[in-house]
């Protein structure tokens, strides 16, 4: 089975994240980049499925030059090769455009299964997997907490508020995974060394047949009008429990008309 796993580099939550005051896009240069945590689960699931079916795993990333760090990490976990959609004109792309670029790259690379994390920790929109299914006209098997492939049949448990849905489809398909699906492996020393020799293909928008005018900030269907730092919360009251902590909270809640 030919699996493509989509990986995004995001600013580390621990570093200060900000928007660029100039073009109001995420300032990716000022923060440390890390692989989106949920994508590690997607990589793990892809590797497991490839091992079980004798398939290959290709990493697909869209992002600036710096995103190669995340590609190397995925390759050192065991993915076979990578495709990097790298083009300045994609800077500032929104979710609609990102899904268009990824869909075009997927068409070019070819696949039986696309796997993604169900959300990125920076934008937190959780829409790209569903948008890819829409663009590719393929089954949307998102929020999967369990994936089973049997020949061309694929079944997932789709995590929901009330429990889960069992969902069936036929390959090719788009899967997104939630965090409890597996335990991502750590890259081994051997894996890290091997990753250095693995092939990374660079695609520009021309290679993907995308029109530059539709891409990036200028072509985005959404725009940030303005942004401001959130006003700091007013400093609250902290008391030490002297056997009446619970009563004190009740008093406070009553004073706020919550109780």
């Amino acid at each position: 089975m030919n699996i493509v796993v989509c990986v995004k580099q995001v600013p580390d939550t621990y570093s200060e994240r900000r928007l660029d005051p100039g073009d109001k896009t995420l300032d990716r240069a000022s923060a440390d980049g890390v692989i989106n945590e949920l994508d590690e689960y997607a990589i793990e699931e892809s590797l497991k499925l490839a091992e079980a079916t004798g398939g290959t795993v290709t990493v697909l990333t869209m992002g600036p030059e710096k995103a190669t760090e995340s590609i190397r990490k995925a390759l050192s976990m065991g993915a076979d090769k990578a495709v990097h959609v790298l083009d300045d004109s994609l800077h500032g792309a929104d979710a609609v455009q990102t899904s268009a670029a990824l869909a075009a790259a997927l068409d070019k690379v070819g696949f039986d299964l696309v796997v993604l994390g169900s959300e990125s920790t920076d934008a937190r929109m959780s829409v790209v997997p569903a948008m890819l299914a829409e663009r590719l006209g393929l089954p949307q098997l998102t929020y999967a907490s369990k994936v089973e492939v049997d020949g061309s049949a694929i079944t997932v448990q789709r995590q929901a508020e009330y429990g889960y849905d069992k969902v069936e489809a036929t390959l090719p398909a788009v899967v997104s995974v939630v965090e409890k699906i597996n335990e991502p492996r750590y890259p081994s020393f051997k894996g890290i060394m091997a990753a250095k020799k693995k092939e990374v293909a660079n695609f520009g928008v021309g290679d993907l047949g995308l029109a530059e005018a539709d891409l990036g900030l200028a072509g985005a269907a959404t725009e940030v009008v303005e942004f401001t730092p959130a006003p700091p919360r007013e400093k609250g009251v902290v008391v030490t429990d002297e056997g009446d902590g619970g009563v004190k909270i009740a008093d406070y809640l009553a004073s706020q008309k919550i109780l």
Binding site: T13, R17, R18, L38, D94, A95, V96, S99, R124, M125, S126, V127, V128, P129, A130, A133, E134, R135, P139, Q140, L141, T142, Y143, A160, E161, Y162, G163, Y164, D165, K166, V167, E168, A169, A173, V178, A220, A221, T222, E223, V224, V225, T228, A230, R233, G236, V237, V238, V239, T240, D241, D244, G245, G246, V247, K248, I249, A250, Y252, L253, I258
Partner: protein, 317 residues
């Protein structure tokens, strides 16, 4: 005045509170038209009318519930094409966001998720980077498609006609590609939905064990609250994953968020920072969550929380 489509979030016609919030917001933007997909419309009709739906589009074909997300996209896409609404509002739930995303692609529009306010001209306010930055954004091409977080507006009644109009759509093969074959529901009990609840009581590693979560649940039940948990608690298997609050869990914005035995890591704060009132119980006076607490008690949660539960019961009696 142009129509504003509001996708109704419901379970067999039991309408969720977020829908009433969306109808309230929609009135500011145009004329609210509810879109009801699925079974049970008879149960929903009166409350949709009460909260201002001038019109209700009803798509009740049983087939629509058999596939993941795409049928709802098909219903909304056909309405967007036929009615040219001024915008579409959906709840910021997992399904709501996916429907919004696919709809944006299908009709060639822009999508904004997780708005906490929508104003005239569809200017949307979002709270990003764990609540640290407030962004105003808008859709600049096509019909604005916006998902709104629960608890973003106080629902206001404004009786309207709820004139019913049946809609039927033909699903494409692609819409029918992911078939739901079974629905497995976990015991939920009587507690409100975590994302929608106006009070959330959360426990973390300090709770100590799965059994000890009974202490958190007892307080939640006394307050009529939902239960949440930190990742340390869900990772330990003390509480199910769907109750995790934070960066890789749910984002909540209740009237009151009460955290017990949670240190306040940035990833946890990302999911609760916009709560109106935050109360913290932690035995460590240095716990970072105290920094954003409106009221905090330094103490053992196993003493403080049960005492609070008793006190709440007493005062509510």
């Amino acid at each position: 005045m142009s129509e504003i489509l509001v996708l109704v979030d419901h379970a067999d016609g039991a309408v969720k509170k977020v829908t009433l919030e969306l109808l309230t917001l929609a009135r500011r933007l145009g004329e609210p038209a509810a879109v009801f997909v699925g079974q049970g419309y008879d149960n929903a009709k009166s409350i949709l009318a009460e909260y201002g739906a001038a019109k209700v589009y009803v798509a009740a074909d049983a087939e629509l519930a058999e596939y993941v997300v795409a049928p709802k996209v098909a219903v909304l896409a056909s309405l967007v094409q036929d009615r040219q609404p001024g915008g579409v509002l959906l709840p910021s739930s997992a399904d709501g966001k996916e429907i919004a995303g696919r709809l944006a692609v299908r009709v060639g529009a822009g999508v904004i998720t997780d708005a906490v306010d929508v104003r005239d001209g569809f200017v949307c306010e979002q709270s990003v980077f764990g609540g640290g930055t407030i962004v105003q954004s808008r859709v600049r091409s096509g019909v604005p498609i916006v998902t709104v977080r629960p608890n973003s507006a106080a629902p206001e009644a404004a009786p309207a006609d709820a004139a019913e109009e049946q809609v039927s759509v033909t699903l494409s093969d692609a819409d029918k590609a992911a078939r739901i074959t079974d629905r497995v529901e976990v015991e939920k009990g009587e507690r409100p939905d975590l994302a929608e609840a106006s009070i959330v009581v959360s426990g973390g590693r300090g709770v100590g064990s799965g059994e000890n979560f009974a202490v958190i649940e007892a307080l939640a039940d006394a307050l009529g609250a939902a239960v949440g948990a930190s990742r340390a608690a869900t990772d330990a298997g003390w509480y199910p994953h769907q109750y995790q609050v934070g960066q890789t869990g749910k984002t909540v914005s209740p009237q009151l968020y009460l955290a017990a035995g949670i240190s306040g890591a940035i990833q946890h704060r990302a999911g609760m920072q916009t709560s109106k009132t935050i109360v913290v119980v932690n035995k460590d006076a240095e716990a970072p969550l105290f920094e954003i607490a409106d009221f905090g008690v330094v103490g053992d949660l196993h003493q403080v929380v049960p005492q609070l539960t008793e006190e709440v019961k007493k005062r509510k009696a």
